[in-house]
């Protein structure tokens, strides 16, 4: 009797023994794995959405989100930063170094974009049962976006590593640095691929915001311009400007409409970064699905009086630049009025009299702010940002022509910009190359203020140091030419034995 029960118990133990190894293979019930995904056309297209996501994701310092946008402007004479977020303040006052957090996050975000694009590019040819045109379009879209990330990388950091394939072993983590020229040729190769692809020239309303073949051409032109290859730049821009009749691009008549939230994705939009209250309801934290596609940009740039965080403060240098030339009828340049709010007669800002609410000496941003509301109360702004505006294409073409000595060829393009701003119709006949460049420089500063182009324009023109030093704004005393680029982030140097810092950092 006793023995029997003992044997029974021992057998119970043995039963538990038998099933052991099966227990150790567990599938993740929550997520697909790389081997179960990448099967359909929908899988591939949804992969492309995630590359766009990196352009706007606040958690990942998206290049058109507040942190990167703010720092593009804070490094110029036009804006200063408030002294609260230490990293952003450091960059703005030229106190940043390789360890500064925000440029590190921007660097990482750009490579997240590259990693995602590389996945689409790697898996696109492997998908079966997909429409070939669709496959080619999605591949081109991903390739353009990879090129865009490399453009931003080389433009902000100089020489960086190039990755065009997926990691297969641990040694693939540690890429060596490519030269600046090599990164630029990667950018050209990616943009060219998209410019010559099956991508449509224009999208129907439902797909507005996705990259077109023309956007790729414009970015290819911009790349050549930044590389000072003016002939090739002109060749690309001409493709757009000479075909306005078919491609429908043009300048909207009223400059203010570009930023009023009611005329988004207009004929002036070549590549526009989309923000709106779709998706989840949080901005930071949570799972990706819980995050909204709206932006905190407007709240962060607004004055405290209307619930803003004062992050981006326009300087009198900018105000002076924008107001030194009046329109034909003697009023302020409409671009000044659409970009800034200050103490001018009848200035209404967030439905309040400017002077009585914000003070007589204040200058605040109007562009891409929801200033027609009472305040920026609920954090989420839906105003889009321009990554490529047709006015930019016109002025870049004017610059490419001028730099090749074709000043007369630039004149009608500059005139279009001036006309839209209702400025006097000045004669540019007989202008020297320098005269025309001076005008283009001024127009670009006024036209694109707060749109994140000025810092790179100044650097391209070789005037960055002199402009900042003479502005006597912010941390101008600390500026040296090494601040023309961000340093390679310390965490890249710490974790990649094949990486070295860029000179002169």
């Amino acid at each position: 009797m006793k023995k029997k029960s003992i044997i029974l118990y021992l057998m119970t133990g043995l039963v538990f023994l038998s099933s052991c190894d099966d227990n150790l293979e567990l599938e993740n019930p929550n997520q697909k794995t790389t081997s179960s995904f990448w099967k359909t056309s929908d899988d591939l297209e949804s992969g492309v959405a995630t590359i766009y996501n990196t352009l706007v994701d606040n958690n990942n310092a998206g290049y058109w989100e507040i942190q990167a946008m703010q720092l593009k402007e804070n490094r110029t004479e036009n804006f200063v930063a408030r002294n609260d977020v230490p990293d952003r303040y450091a960059v703005s006052y030229y106190k940043n170094d390789a360890g500064t957090g925000v440029p590190r996050d921007i660097f990482k975000a750009l490579y997240i974009g590259v990693f995602r694009a590389n996945q689409v590019i790697t898996y696109a040819p492997k998908i079966q049962n997909i429409d070939e045109t669709k496959r080619e379009q999605l591949l081109a879209e991903a390739t353009f976006l990879r090129g865009l990330n490399y453009f931003n990388l080389v433009n902000e950091f100089g020489a960086v590593p190039i990755t065009t394939a997926l990691v297969e072993s641990q040694s693939d983590y540690f890429k060596s640095k490519s030269t600046e020229a090599e990164v630029w040729s990667q950018v050209i190769s990616d943009f060219q691929f998209a410019a010559n692809s099956a991508l449509p020239e224009n999208y129907p309303t439902a797909l507005k915001g996705r990259v077109t073949k023309n956007a790729a051409i414009a970015f290819l032109g911009k790349t050549y311009l930044y590389m000072k290859d003016y002939a090739k730049a002109e060749e690309q821009f001409n493709k757009l400007v000479n075909n306005e009749a078919t491609n429908g691009y043009g300048l909207v008549d009223n400059y203010a409409e570009l930023f009023d939230g009611k005329h988004e994705n207009s004929k002036e939009s070549v590549f526009e970064i989309q923000f709106s209250k779709v998706g989840g309801s949080t901005i930071w934290g949570g799972s990706p699905a819980e995050r909204t596609r709206a932006t905190t940009m407007a709240q962060e740039c607004a004055p405290g009086e209307v619930g803003g965080w004062n992050e981006l403060l326009p300087t009198t240098v900018l105000l002076n630049a924008m107001t030194n030339e009046k329109t034909v009828d003697g009023s302020f340049d409409p671009r000044a009025l659409a970009t800034l709010a200050w103490n001018y007669p009848g200035c209404i800002y967030y439905n309040s009299d400017f002077v009585s609410k914000f003070g007589a000496n204040a200058i605040w941003i109007r562009k891409n702010q929801n200033w027609w509301n009472n305040d920026e109360g609920d954090w989420k702004s839906e105003l889009n940002e321009f990554a490529m505006r047709y006015a930019d294409v016109l002025l870049m073409l004017a610059e490419a022509r001028t730099m090749q000595g074709n000043v007369a060829g630039a004149a009608p393009l500059v005139k279009r910009i001036r006309d839209r701003a209702k400025l006097t119709d000045i004669s540019m006949v007989g202008w020297s190359k320098d005269q025309m460049m001076t005008e283009i420089m001024h127009q670009r500063n006024v036209e694109f203020a707060r749109e994140g182009l000025h810092f790179f324009d100044l650097r391209r023109w070789g005037t960055l140091e002199s402009v900042i030093k003479s502005s006597q704004v912010g941390g101008y005393q600390l500026f040296t030419t090494k601040f023309s680029y961000y340093p390679i982030p310390q965490s890249e140097l710490n974790n990649n034995p094949n990486m070295t810092q860029n000179s002169p950092w």
Binding site: D21, S46, T50, I112, T163, G279, E290, R293
Partner: protein, 1024 residues
Amino acid sequence: MKKKKNVNRMKNLRSFITSKLGLSIFILMSCIGMQAQNTITGTVKDSKSDQKIVGVTVSVKGTTNGTVTDFDGTYKLNVTDPKGILVFTYVGYSTIEEAINGRDVIDVSLKEESNALNEVVVIGYGSVKKTSATGAIASLKAKQLDAQSNTNLGSAIQGKVAGVSVESAGGGPGSGTRIQIRGAGSLNNNTPLILVDDIQVASMNSLSPNDIESIEVLKDAAAAAIYGSRAANGVVIITTKNGKKGDIKVTLDVFGGVASVTKQLDLLNQEQWAKVSNAAYAAAGKAPLDIALNPEVGGAGVNYQDEIFRTAPTQNYSLGFLGGSDNLKYSMSLNYYNQEGVIKETNYDRFNMRVKSDYKKGIFKIGETILLTKEKRKELPGVPGQGRNVLGSAITMIPGFAIYDENAIGGYGGASGSVTDIFNPVAALNLFDVTSDTYQALLNTYVEASFFKDFKYKLNVGATVSEYKRDNYTPRYEVGGFFKNLDNDLSHTDEFNLYTQVENTLNYTKSFGKSYVNALAGYTIYNNGFKSVVSSVSGIPDNIYVLAGAVQPAVTGYNLENNLVSYLGRVIYSYDSKYTLSATIRRDGSSRFSPDNKWGNFPSVSAAWGIGKETFFTNLKTPITDLKLRASYGVLGNQEIGDYQYLGLITSGISYGVGEPNTLWSGNIQTDSPGVGLKWESTETADFGLDLDLWNGKLQYTFDYFNKQTSDLLLRVPIPLSVGSNNNPYTNAGNVTNKGYEMSLTYNEKIGDFNFNVTGNFSSIKNNVDELSTGSQVLEGSGGSFHGAPVTYSKVGYPIYSFFLVDTDGLFRSQAEIDAHSKNGTLIQPNAQVGDIRYIDYNGDGEINGEDRQYKGSAFPKFEYGLRLQGDWKGIDCTIALQGVEGNKIYNGNNTDLQTVRSNINYSAATLDSYTFNPNSNFPRLDIDDKNNNGADYSDRFLEDGSYLRIKTVQVGYTIPNSITKQVSVDKCRIYFAGDNLYTFTKYSGYNPDVSADALGGRGIDYKSYPLSKTILFGLQLNF
């Protein structure tokens, strides 16, 4: 209003006590009246000192009839059977049985049990005599827990076990403690394995200290090896109160008291704030702030610290029953604990119920533990804005802003204008409602069969089930100029956890001649499953607090599961109680690793030599009663990396808006690089120990030296950013060493009626990172400021996550000093003015920046110590427990806000004595633009000495003489006053030097963490 509530609560407490007391007395009285036969009297004495012993249990064997000796050591017992046997038992003394043989007077002398080395200690899957223990094991008995004034078990062991560090996990009610044994060996998880009656629990926070019989801490690999991969961070074995043979014993413990914060920070009032702010603006050539000129609240303004803190009542009731016969032993208890938080609107409430019994029949023994817990918390709400949490908001809120605003939705005022967006903390506490309920059941059953004389088979099946439900409600509100919520929001979290274990063990024990053998073989399976569902709605109607109504909730969820399968074996051989050898092996298979790397083997060996028992030693005639040397070596594993880490996963919901107007384009992608070739992390520990016993147990001393090396560290090693992975993958990277020594001492003495007992412990650990992945690798820890750079880093050659900061070198006192601080003729700090900080250009590049960081110390103490003094004289007893740490650093992150006048928040009172107002000050000049970076968060300006000595527990009690209490049939009645965390001696200027963080990289960083509270209690213990 609030005060009235507290008074009511005290009244309830009183009436509760009296009613319970009355009832119990009634029951006991009625029992007594039933028998009246032969009366036996006698006196019980100590065999050595001849002192009378109070409280000895005298019972008639095999019956429930019994009594205890009174204050004169005498007893009186009525017996029916003159041939019966009397049993005399007393803790620490050998039990004596005396046949009555018709006698009327029976006097006995009890002999004190010779020494502690004869105690039995619990080891994994069994127990051994302390003489045969070869591992480093520390034990705590119930009375050392001072349960009468400790409501949290972690806090009850703080400072009482050498090598065990306990840190408070925040000051919120019911927030508990974090425990670490022998330093940080791993970079991802340093929590020890905690077992309650043989079943694993995630934390000991929800246990009632009153339920605990003993706690064993297994510190070295040899002791812990039998637990294999679960035990790399040590093991804490908690045994709840067992039933005891004899009449039913009832214990009632009641206490109540009040808690308050030990300290408030010295901040500015509105007038002072305006003065400081205006000076800082003037220094930068800027116009003063509006709120500095026109405060909403005049005079001193609002003291926001006073507005959130309160003196909070706390109360605890424990009722226990235990008893048993030869075959059945049982123990039951009920416990209720309620604590109002020292921060208003928060509270914690816990109800425990426990049943434990063992039943013997023939070759079988069966038993179970059932422990049910219900906890309810009103949690501290999360707070929007740069205040970060309620406390952070309270210390940074400018006092000139009003608390209330009748016109705002919700009724609260707040910061507005050109100031930092700090949320009104009073509004946060009242508007946001975060309530959670936790239900836990711990169930464990076993069947043991003894057969073939020497074999024992045990099957242990157990489970812990827990369910966590949390409601987070945010109403519509407007708070100042920055914060607005347009809709009523509610989110509901539901988490379910089921852990099951099946353990089969076969034990063989045999003594032959002078040899003793114990062998164990086992096979175990553990499964852990977790499910989470979060539902949330936005826009529910006012006054609706459930997920109901017209709005469809958004729901997300996820499931996790892991399995661990193990084979284990152990052999212990002992000869003549002098020489002991032990060997253990465990083979673990985990579902967390890829098929190639699932299995890990974890062996250990250990030996002990009882020199004290050798003839040559006893011949020396030293006061040393016993001496034992121990040595051990073993390997343990760690798999705490989370589930499914080796697979490349696709993340969904990564979206973009397209179209005019935008619609959601939802995407899926692999965001993280998976871990490649992950395998077990392993920890090798060598331990040398000595156990010493002097003067027949009066003094006991234990010393251990250990060297613990962790290799193949499982950690999320930062891979280059250029890989583009959102998160770093887990990799086996690097080695860490923890070596050190620890000792503990116990001394018991008795002088006349005065008994006292001293226990002390001391431990010192040195932690070092020996190797990290690529060699040049640096791991960034956490920052201690708003959006600031990390201040802790792990580098080869330094302790894990040490502070690396730029050295400050006083203030510039003259322009000449600024000019002299130069490199090759160029100023190192070109923007400095007189009164600014001078920084050391550590890398000599002529500039000051983050690259000038140098090693400035570690958050880990050089040593930790604890001392407990306990004494009693006649009926009066007194206990004092002290605890301290020495040589650690704390980064006072609050001062990166409060002492740097660069954003528009409230500041530390120290700013009033800054260089701006006092040229002799060491506090730098104020300047809102701070071009010299005096407020740089990378400097050692904010690093402070974190050493402290704390008066942890003081308890003074009086036991009413038994001669009085026995008249109402009460065995023991003790009343006491106690204090918990009474005073802390420290140079640290923040709220509390006992700072703690979840992440290892955040250790020693005090950034808006909650203050510790002290508690004053009055209590009553009754035994029937």
